[in-house]
């Protein structure tokens, strides 16, 4: 732990230990405290202009108690002893009237592996002045407003520092600090009577020295993508091959698929697969999916989870074969397994299961060749860049509007389409209907990563 956060760390630890002892003294058999401290300075943009500068810091603490098989939870945003005592009593009161659930449990966590990315702090980021942050924001605005056709609706640059802590009455003590600069833009293209869809991007950097250059390059790329959508036309209705960009793959297909890797869903048998399906072929053999919490430059990077369990990179699907499910202690108990470090949440929430940073493995074919092959199969086709719609994880059905979608005819991009709807089913799309996977991958919003996918039998309804 960096000396940079010494006093904040001590204050957080003192409050967390007090809360833990209040919880036990109020009647809990075992207790767990999740705490956090954070600072952020933010310069926000709105209506094509600088809007607001702000500066905040604060603590938050949550306590989970077990009385036999009954659980209670309460949280507050204070380190004041009276408030900590109040929430410890409240958590015990809730446990007192909650019915038994045999799967609640609190465990002592192992140590974090040496290979994990232990240092998520760049001291230079903690010393950035408001003046420098203003200069970074000017870089963002300068790049975004170079082309007058781009209308900046919202955005900004934020510098945040944080400490996360999990302790429990069985001896778990995990703490990590992180720093990051983040920036975002939301806007649209406007030219005469043409208006594009809203588009949004966000990016983080954990390295102060490379931040200015990354701001410029990322904003330039984003504005170029938005303005391309000004050339619009109509698509035709058809059922057949559709190309999904990496963002569309993650938004439509992988987000729903990840529901089925949730150990709690498996335990409740509301998912598609169960323990009996491990090591079985469940999806197309071209498909490999990994969850990797140790990628330092990604927003999902963490060395321990909401329950203090160390995280680790894990294969979920390998060549279409189901390898693992994501488990917290609750799911692990229900399935008679051990936690995989996938308890998600923060000080004001109870642990839930979630993935960290999903990475879909690339294929062997270049994007160029993939487009050519689709063009040879089908005279015209749709390329989905973004998606605004529904995706029902239970049934796997999805239906929604293809945003920023390209209409290709005879192997050439003709224009961008609006009011075009797509629908299909994720299990078929990632199973028998998966046509091809690109060699190139893209990291979306500094977190998950995916190649481009070509899927067959997708219904396209032109507006």
């Amino acid at each position: 732990m960096s000396q940079l956060f010494k006093s904040e760390k001590e204050k957080l630890e003192t409050a967390a230990n007090k809360l833990l002892s209040y919880a036990i003294n109020s009647g809990a058999d075992t207790a767990e405290v999740c705490g956090g401290y954070g600072t952020k300075t933010k310069i926000t943009l709105e209506k094509q202009d600088y809007h607001l500068a702000s500066s905040d810091d604060g603590y938050s603490l949550g306590v989970r108690v077990l009385k036999g098989n009954r659980q209670g939870f309460a949280s507050c945003n204070s380190t004041d002893s009276a408030e900590l005592k109040e929430i410890a009593i409240k958590a015990n009161e809730i446990a007192g009237f909650s019915p038994d659930n045999p799967h609640y449990n609190i465990q002592r966590a192992n140590n974090i592996p040496i290979e994990a990315p232990h240092n998520l702090v760049d001291p230079a980021l903690t010393e950035i002045s408001l003046q420098t942050q203003k200069e970074w924001t000017q870089l963002l605005v300068g790049e975004a407003t170079k082309d007058k056709r781009f209308r900046l609706n919202e955005g900004g640059v934020e510098i945040g520092t944080g400490i996360s802590l999990v302790i429990n009455s069985l001896g778990t003590h995990q703490m990590e600090a992180d720093t990051a600069a983040s920036w975002s833009l939301m806007g649209m293209g406007v030219e005469d009577k043409l208006i594009t869809s809203f588009d949004y991007f966000s990016q983080i950097s954990r390295d102060a020295s490379t931040t200015p250059e990354t701001i410029i390059l990322s904003a330039r790329k984003f504005v170029e993508e938005v303005l391309r959508n000004l050339k619009t036309g109509r698509s035709e209705s058809y059922k057949g091959l559709v190309i999904f960009s990496p963002r569309a793959v993650l938004d439509i297909l992988i987000s729903s698929l990840s529901y089925h890797f949730n150990g709690r869903v498996v335990a409740e048998t509301t998912g598609r697969w169960g323990l009996k399906n491990r090591d079985q072929q469940i999806l197309n053999s071209q498909l490999s999916l990994k969850d990797n919490p140790w990628l330092r430059d990604r927003s999902g990077c963490s060395t321990f989870d909401r329950e203090g369990t160390p995280t680790r990179p894990m294969d979920l699907i390998e060549k279409g074969v189901l390898k693992s499910f994501c488990l917290d202690h609750y799911a692990a108990h229900a399935l008679k397994l051990t936690s995989t470090g996938h308890a998600a949440g923060g000080p004001s929430s109870l642990p839930a299961v979630s993935t960290h940073t999903l990475c879909l493995a690339p294929g062997e074919e270049t994007q160029h060749s993939l487009y050519q092959r689709v063009g040879a199969e089908q005279k015209s086709f749709l390329v989905v860049q973004r998606y605004s719609g529904q995706s029902d994880p239970v049934t796997g059905d999805f239906s929604g509007v293809a945003k920023g979608a390209e209409w290709w005819v005879n192997g050439e991009r003709r224009y961008y389409v609006q009011e075009t709807l797509i629908s299909g089913n994720i299990f078929q799309a990632l199973g028998e209907d998966l046509f091809a996977i690109s060699k190139e991958t893209e990291v979306i919003d500094c977190d998950e990563e995916s190649p481009t996918l070509v899927i067959n039998n997708i219904s396209v309804t032109g507006g």
């Binding site: 500066s55 945003n77 408001l130 900046l152 919202e154 709807l421 629908s423």
Partner: protein, 466 residues
Amino acid sequence: MKSISELLETTLAKAPCWAEARYHRRNSQSLSVQKGLVKQAKSNLTSGVGIRVFVDGAWGFSSTSDLNPHALEKALRQAIECAKSLSQLKKSNLKKLPETKLARGEFKIPGYENLKKMPLEQKLHAVLKAEKLTRNNSALIHSATCVYNEIFEDKIVVTTDGANASSQLARNEFKIGAIASRDGEMAESHESVGRTGSWECLFSRATLDEMSDSAAKLAVDLLSAPKIPGGNNVLVLSPAMVGLLSHEAIGHTVEADFVLSGSVAQGKLGTLVASPLITLSDSGIVAGVEHSGGELLVDDEGVLTTKTVIIKNGILSSYLHNRESAAIYGVEPTGNGRAWLYSDEPLIRMRNTYIEPGTQTLEEIISSTKEGYLVDCPLGGQADATGEFMFGAQKVTKIENGKLTKMFRGATISGQAFEVLSTVDAVSKEFLLDLGSGYCGKGQPAKVDAGGPYIRCKATIGGVQE
């Protein structure tokens, strides 16, 4: 509350500029049950003060959870420093907020005390009962979920130009989900209600038993429902779907911050944007409707909430404003400045957004429709600066020769909002604010409600193609 109000006034007396101090204490509780097991029972307490200043045309903001006078003064100094750092860059000509009528006094929405007095244990029993009723409704129900959330809000807003308003309200929501299963096929349904007020308000339209029954039956019915064919169709939208359309597709495009950025509503004031049958409003209080989910008496800038008629007989007549955008447009603020937590700055947000009722009955509308679909039970939606929208619907029923016939599985409908509203040729007299539970997202969440009558229009259904 009085001592906090005085503390805020004392802090602001030291401000050399326009300043606003907003105390906010939020106590929220959440219960959830699935398959007979309690998944979540929790209580959260968040409190603090957000201080916002306006210096030479720039906003500065800082917040603290510490109510010590020194901590508040520190937050005020930080906010001023932040604003000063931006003032040289800000291009806007607005250097000072104009005077406006601001709220003073106490603003309480009934139901707070009643809901607070009811033990959480009793609420948990109701959640357990609803889940069990849903699960046991049919042998085809594989799993049921029931969630109850409640939020108690206490706020005080003080500004250097005269606002001093303390407000109190409680919001609650009840959600039931069911998954039906047969031969490996699954179908899911949701029922929800969201209110501002007491526990009883939640069940004023449908009892807990009726909600459970409805969720279970819909999931079972959807199991055998086919997928819908895609295409442009005549649609009769239910009040809940009309609410989504009003909120997502129209409401967001007329929020003045979006308008100033170039939304599709820019420059359209005074022009015909919808069928003359359409009058669309946003209001903190809706006449004749009690305990709506977005009920609000005073906003987070200390402005009294008024009814804002956005479209009157098809003509765009107003945008939604906070104090800053109202000053830019030279109009009075509409009471739409809302913040989620003390540490959030107020943004332009909707409250209850709805289309006014018409003169026909639903029966008349259905019987005069030769071919189309009745679309109900929203699943959420999104809209764009262009007015292009997308809504999910759980339940779509075919209308053939004036009669409701076959039910289809959930579908997505899409179109350009103003174009779709221009196709409206029938508006019912039946009226409901019926958005259910859930929140609007715009960087921060906000509790809103929306609804209206049944309307008949044309839009695209995103279904299957052969």
